[in-house]
């Protein structure tokens, strides 16, 4: 079923997931600004309109609320729409639709209606996109019960998680770390650009497979501290751990909601130390929830305060992008700090 594997970038893996689902399920529609003929500003939908037809993959008006609202109506009808928001920064005009409608529909209707929609969107920083092409709003979705929030960190997961999202019965916000669309990024801006070729996670089956929502993965086993990360920051974390020399366990959450609480607590119970890493601004970010959960569930195992490494509490600052984004150095410093105690 999953077929032959081949090396794919993350953007190719996403394209492949959409292609597979369009072919498999006539109820899947793909739409958004510039996703039709053009194939999307990041090429995620390239070739899909030509292959599957004008009514399967098409452009929309520039109206994010309308895109999501129509997707909800299609979902309630019985389709499985996959809507693209061109940059996740531009999801905010649709925030009310997602929170007040998509997330509540099943509950308030006593299960009569639901919105099995998937909202894909390029997410996060690192491409010199400035304020409105760089933000990381996962906390704004995590707090909204009824929504699922997924952030993959590599091609294999991206395809498997996207297919699982499309097949899921709940609304899923699928945020794609755009900095790693074409290659991993360890946070060191000066270094040579890498591409996905040769990475084990870039070996992606051509066909249908899923990665379950709500399951984290241990990217690096370790015994002295636990690092929680997702998206681009998984790669930064790996570099930071290496830089620190600490034998840290790195967990890629992959799924913000549902959260794999067991994987997290099992690791911290073992290591007794925890550093949380995300791009988003720190205050009331998702790291706060992670820290609170770890503290509540592993208090007696903790040997040092849980540390958070995150974007500063400023708007996303164009020229200071690399000062703003947490890099391996900041993670290594935090690891060193938690090891002191």
């Amino acid at each position: 079923m999953a077929g032959e594997t081949r090396s794919m970038t993350m953007i190719q893996a996403i394209n492949s997931a959409l292609d597979v689902m369009l072919a498999r399920d006539p109820d899947v529609l793909v739409f958004g600004e510039d996703v039709g003929y053009f194939g999307g500003v990041f090429r995620a939908t390239e070739g899909l309109q030509a292959k599957h037809g004008l009514t399967r993959c098409f452009d929309t008006p520039i109206a994010e609320g309308g895109i999501i609202g129509c997707a909800i109506g299609m979902g309630a009808y019985g389709l499985r729409p996959v809507a693209e928001i061109q940059f996740v920064d531009y999801i905010l005009p649709a925030y009310d639709q997602l929170v007040s409608e998509a997330a509540r529909l099943r509950y308030r209707s006593g299960g009569e209606f639901s919105a099995p929609i998937t909202v894909r969107s390029p997410y996060g920083g690192g491409i010199f996109g400035g304020q409105t092409h760089s933000q990381s709003p996962e906390a704004l979705f995590a707090h909204v019960t009824g929504l699922k929030t997924i952030i993959p960190s590599n091609p294999y997961d991206a395809k498997g998680l996207l297919i699982a999202s499309i097949e899921d019965y709940d609304p899923v916000i699928f945020m794609e770390p755009k900095r790693i669309y074409n290659g991993p990024f360890n946070g060191r801006h000066g270094e040579q650009l890498r591409n996905w070729a040769g990475e084990p996670t870039a070996q992606v089956p051509e066909g249908h497979y899923t990665v379950p929502l709500g399951k984290a993965v241990i990217v690096r086993a370790g015994k002295d501290a636990t690092v929680l990360a997702y998206g681009t920051m998984v790669h930064v974390a790996m570099a930071g751990i290496e830089e620190s020399g600490v034998d840290a366990e790195l967990i890629d959450l992959r799924s913000i909601v549902p959260l794999d609480i067991e994987a997290i607590t099992a690791s911290v119970a073992k290591t007794g130390r925890c550093v949380i890493l995300h791009e988003a601004t720190r205050f009331a970010g998702f790291g706060g929830e992670l820290s609170a959960l770890v503290q509540e569930r592993c208090f007696w195992a903790l040997k040092a305060p849980i540390a958070r490494v995150a974007g500063w509490d400023t708007p996303y600052p164009h020229a200071f992008e690399m000062d703003y984004l947490p890099g391996p150095g900041r993670l290594a410093a935090a690891l060193a700090r938690v090891m002191e105690d």
Binding site: A76, R108, G110, G111, D170
Partner: protein
């Protein structure tokens, strides 16, 4: 350097406030039969006059006149009358139930019953209505069980929505009635999406959405119109212009500057302006729009001119912000009375039968309320508390499982 003429800020005001004399001349109505009826296939751009016309069928003598007069069997008219009367009686009784502390909230649709009732009867079982809180008539016309309404309003153990929703925010999929919510306007695009899905599937299910006059100001309204127009979705977009949005008159939605139906023009869509208190006009306009949609010509915007006779909800006293007798001055009369008189004029109805029907419906409502009371009213009875944790997701995650356990339910 300043120009010689400086600006001043204009704040719209209604024609009269409490103590003043109501005036509806700004509505620019036309007599029954006056408006032309283009063939349904007419291109949108060739119907740019329609929003300034006024589609009205029943004349002063209660006869159906003019090009819009629909052919409706008397039986169907009687079904309409019955559903309208039932709506009104139900509203009155449940409004009183609120005064008696049996429910936390209620909203009446008094004076606006013709719109949803006619449309509900006209549309098919597989069509889907995206309602506002003021179209109870839709459900009444389709014989939705009164007891289910009452139980929902009492939020009791038998509430079909399991205690999760404010009273009257029904959901009834099998009756073509989409899930209501408190947010204004946010479901209009769902109707468009539903219609697009139907069109994509080569289905024949069409969608009908309502918004109030006040709600037309929301950006959602515009986005729904844009998508409907661009994809030529088979959807009827209806504005129930009942002149008020809580305490704000329709001028705050822009209705003082142009008829709301004329919003259609900018999208190349037909915009009809219809007497919403005239069952036959509602029927005729809706039928025209359905015909057009079925010819794959896409959406129609219909403004129904009507009047909100009661307060906005149980939470406000309308005499605080508008003349107490304003309803009596509203030039389009009472939709129930007008249909009744038409049926009498047709010779298929009379006062005695009307009185008997009133009594019958009142009994039915009383019985339903009693039955609901037996289950329990607000605070006396509610669904099992574990219902709070159901249907958040298709299957609950650990948070919900743990929390339900913590609460011990």
């Amino acid at each position: 350097m300043r120009n010689d003429r400086s600006f001043s800020l204009h704040i719209p005001e209604p024609s009269a406030r409490p103590g003043g004399t109501p005036d509806f001349s700004h509505l620019h109505l036309e007599p029954a039969g006056a408006a032309r009826r283009p063939v349904a296939e007419t291109p949108g751009l060739e119907m740019r006059d329609m929003p300034y016309r006024f589609i009205r069928v029943l004349d002063e003598a209660h006869e159906a006149v003019g090009p819009w007069a629909p052919r409706i069997e008397p039986d169907m008219l009687l079904r309409g009358l019955r559903a309208m009367m039932l709506t009104r009686i139900f509203d009155d009784r449940l409004f009183r139930a609120h005064r008696q502390g049996k429910t936390s909230f209620y909203m009446k649709s008094t004076g606006e019953e013709a719109i949803p009732v006619a449309q509900s009867l006209l549309l098919g079982a597989r069509d889907m209505c995206f309602p506002t809180y003021r179209v109870l008539g839709w459900l009444m016309a389709r014989n939705y069980p009164l007891i289910d309404l009452v139980n929902q309003i009492f939020s009791n153990e038998a509430d079909p929505l399991r205690g999760r929703q404010l009273p009257i925010l029904y959901s009834a999929r099998d009756y073509g009635f989409y899930s209501l919510s408190g947010n204004l306007g946010s479901r209009m695009s769902h109707a468009v999406g539903w219609a697009m899905a139907s069109a994509y599937k080569g289905d024949d299910s069409l969608a009908l959405a309502y918004v109030g006059d006040g709600t037309t100001a929301e950006g959602d309204f515009h986005e729904a119109l844009t998508f409907a127009s661009v994809y030529r979705a088979p959807v009827l977009l209806c504005i129930t212009n009942n002149q008020w949005a809580i305490s704000s008159f329709s001028g705050f939605a822009g209705a003082q500057e142009a008829p709301l139906a004329s919003r259609a023009i900018g999208f190349g869509l037909p915009g009809l302006r219809v007497d919403g208190n005239d069952f036959l006009a509602v029927w005729a306009a809706t039928q025209w729009a359905v015909e057009r949609a079925r010819a794959n010509l896409g959406p129609t915007l219909i403004e129904f001119v009507t009047y909100r006779v009661a307060g906005h909800s149980t939470s406000d006293d309308p005499t605080k912000y508008r003349p107490g007798d304003e309803a009596n001055h509203f030039p389009l009369g009472d939709p129930v009375e007008r249909l009744k008189q038409h049926l009498i004029a047709l010779g298929v109805w009379d006062e005695a039968r009307h009185a008997a029907l009133t009594e019958e419906l009142d009994q039915a409502v009383r019985a339903a309320v009693k039955q609901g009371e037996a289950v329990g009213t607000l605070g006396e009875s509610k669904p099992p508390v574990r219902e709070m944790f159901e249907h958040v997701f298709a299957t609950p995650d650990w948070r919900l499982i743990e929390q339900r356990r913590e609460l011990g339910v």
